[in-house]
Symmetry: C2
Subunit: 252 residues, 2 copies
């Protein structure tokens, strides 16, 4: 089979955080497939490139569509925000291959990594991911809330910094407050807690608070939440937001 | 103070995985500071840029040197591999600020995110980070081995995919085997285990095995190790390495 499918990470939002490798893969594609707002972020679409916008909910359908096009000999780019391997399209593509046409396993499928949201969010405030950390999606479309709680508990027990993806959504307005409540019972209220909206874009907005004060009203669909470990700390500055970092050492 | 200090992530190795924002920040610097092999990866150094190479062990000294230069009015770029906020230079810079001259808090300090090693390693094999995951450094320069074990245990209990940074070193030749032994007692031997050497470069080399078979001999200083969750799986292909992915769902 001659078709190519590349799953591409567009990074957190700004054009200058898209890797040259991703830009080249986009330029080489005959067909671009993705959720509309991600397609809108592609800096340049060539005349003759076919653009296939889809709803965000139908990841597996989108993956199958992309694989069908690639199997017909097209060069297909599936676009994701951030990094495609982190709560994004890459896993859906390999799941579609596993469950789909045997011939899809012969396709040339590649993944182009990108800057995932937690890295851009962290960079915008300092270095809160400076120690060991975990990334948890609060979406229960595909896993149970009890699994999410089990992972939050483990993360709190081990004193990981926690990056929360899919922290807010219209479909689950109470999840984030449930997560904050649960973490407060495990870890107390002192942990530095960050809301970073639209990290890695010109409209980035940072809120620094504590777990005790954290409230889901601070987050929307574009917000990445980071709950610090017991050692995450602030470096105060006059007239500006403090920097936030997690020391590399336990004994700082 | 007019000085600027930017902590820059060069990504996993290939020039086309350096973001344009990082490239611009490198070009604007008057002074480039970093571990020699990272400085060697800068695609172009302008005539007149001052290059300060240092040993990898002295992160805090390097951070202080960079801050002193910035405080004298220079535009300083501190270069890291991968993302500077993940087991790299950004936390050392903020630690140096916190402990250092009060005037350093008035400097213009920025962090330019990059593609961290686990994202490039994951992309090279499929989507093994497709579910919830954690990142743990096996270096005990700055934390105790008991803390590392506590985090490995939590990660196993919660069925996270685990990315192991600093998996191998001459200073701690037995750490990685200790970690494998410990994880086997918690999780059994079936978990898909990946060794990805020089991910995101032309010399990338992937080994796919199981936790039962995993051995520290498979890793060197350039190797990122990923231990899958209970649901991480292989998609076999004829004549090539299988793809590896972690389904987004628990019920796949």
């Amino acid at each position: 089979m001659s078709g190519v499918l590349t799953v591409i990470g567009l990074g957190p939002g700004a054009a200058d955080l898209i890797t040259p490798a991703a830009t080249r893969a986009l330029a080489e594609a005959t067909d671009l497939i993705g959720y509309g707002p991600y397609l809108d972020r592609i800096p340049e679409i060539r005349a003759g490139q076919n653009v296939h916008a889809s709803d965000n909910r139908v990841e597996l359908d989108r993956a199958r569509h992309a694989l069908t096009l690639a199997a017909s000999g097209r060069r297909v780019a599936v676009v994701s925000g951030g990094d495609p391997g982190v709560f994004a399209m890459a896993a859906a593509v390999f799941e579609a291959i596993e469950k789909g046409e045997p011939s899809w396993r012969d396709l040339d499928v590649r993944v182009e990594p990108g800057v995932t949201a937690m890295l851009a969010a962290a960079a915008s405030v300092g270095a809160p991911l400076g120690g060991d950390f975990c990334a948890i999606s609060l979406s229960d479309n595909l896993k149970s809330w009890s699994t999410i709680e089990r992972r939050l508990k483990a993360a709190a027990d081990a004193d990981f910094v926690i990056a929360l993806y899919n922290a807010a959504s219209k479909a689950r307005p109470h999840h984030l407050d449930h997560a904050f409540d649960f973490l407060r019972t495990l870890r107390g209220g002192e942990a530095v807690t960050l809301f970073v909206r639209a990290a890695g874009t010109a409209e980035a907005k940072v809120t620094i608070t504590t777990l005790a004060e954290a409230n889901a009203r601070g987050a929307d669909m574009r917000t990445l939440v980071i709950v610090g470990s017991s050692s995450t700390r602030l470096v105060d500055r006059s007239g500006r937001l403090p920097w936030v970092y997690t020391p590399r050492s336990e004994d700082t």
